[in-house]
């Protein structure tokens, strides 16, 4: 415990709970990261199952919360991706809830934030990017998909340059999605730990960092929800780009 006391980076360490280390050359241990991913999914499942148990036409408080969440994500998908994207709504909904519950569970004391690791968020971002690109290519055909990189009415000589720039910006999407989420979570939690490390050594004047810590925790909860919203919003926007064809 003493080592974690004055090292704000140690909270991001992955420690195995059940170690299955050299299985066919891979490390398949069940770690604290896996535990919190399982807890995330369990939390989502419990929340929606229990909240929708009442099934009242006029919703009570919990059911209202579940319905508002559904409508929120539904609004994101329909507003950005259009009504053609309705069949992708379950995926976007799952994505939003997983990131949201992952972020929020990291705010509980002594917990582990799964989304603070770039490998986790990059996997999510790469999943979205690959899926959206495949959907776009299947939906529109590969030639027309690449035509999107070249805006209308450009002189011939500048088209290769613009194409390369647009391609690079397109290929940076999974990285930006992943790094944005992971860096936000990691920066927030590191800051919390650093400020918290000041409370006890200051003795009686530790009240000041304590108050700041309360405000910062509130801000971090807001950032957790906001980052989940932004991840989902950007995924819907990329999906919209892949799906839209006629109306330019």
């Amino acid at each position: 415990m003493a080592a974690e006391h004055h090292n704000p980076i140690a909270q991001f360490e992955i420690t195995p709970i059940f170690s299955f280390d050299p299985v066919l050359g891979y490390n398949l241990s069940f770690t604290n990261s896996s535990l919190f991913m399982v807890l995330s999914v369990l939390g989502i499942w419990l929340f929606f199952t229990l909240a929708m148990r009442a099934r009242a036409t006029v919703p009570g408080r919990w059911q209202s919360l579940a319905e508002v969440t559904y409508q929120f994500v539904n609004g994101i998908v329909e507003e950005n991706a259009g009504t053609k994207a309705r069949k992708y709504f379950p995926f976007i909904f799952t994505l939003f809830l997983f990131v949201l519950f992952g972020n929020l569970m990291g705010m509980l004391p002594y917990s582990f934030t799964i989304t603070s690791h770039i490998i986790v968020t990059f996997a999510l971002g790469a999943l979205v990017f690959t899926g959206v690109t495949l959907i776009g290519m299947i939906h529109q055909g590969p030639i027309k998909f690449f035509k999107h990189f070249i805006p209308e009415g450009l002189p011939m000589w500048i088209i290769p340059v613009v194409f390369v720039i647009e391609l690079i910006s397109f290929l940076s999407r999974p990285f930006s999605l992943g790094i944005r989420l992971a860096a936000n979570m990691m920066a927030g939690h590191t800051l919390l730990k650093v400020i918290a490390g000041f409370v006890v050594p200051l003795g009686l004047f530790g009240i000041a960092p304590m108050v700041f810590l309360v405000l910062l925790t509130g801000f971090e909860v807001f950032i957790a929800i906001l980052q989940a919203y932004i991840f989902t919003l950007l995924s819907s926007m990329y999906l919209a780009e892949a799906l839209h064809d006629e109306e330019h």
Partner: protein
């Protein structure tokens, strides 16, 4: 010979700290950017109070993109610090 190796190692640590300090300056751009976005958003709402919802959405979206650059600087700092 050993003193030179120790000196080189100590130089490396000092240079790492200097590097991290320089990278932290990168967040200045992000802070200015976010401030500009919200300043313009406030002005826009003052001119047209009815459009507050749309402006709020755009402002938050823009702030996330601007803040992302600052976070890239933070990530670089962590990577330099080892």
């Amino acid at each position: 010979m050993e003193m030179e190796v120790a000196q080189a190692a100590a130089d490396m640590v000092s240079l790492k700290f200097i590097g991290m300090g320089l990278v932290a300056l990168g967040m200045l751009g992000a802070a200015i950017g976010v401030g500009l976005i919200f300043g313009n958003a406030t002005q826009a709402v003052a001119r047209n109070p009815g459009a507050e919802d749309k402006i709020r959405k755009l402002a938050i979206l823009g702030a996330v993109f601007a803040e992302f650059m600052g976070l890239l600087a933070f990530v670089l700092g962590i990577m330099i610090g080892g």
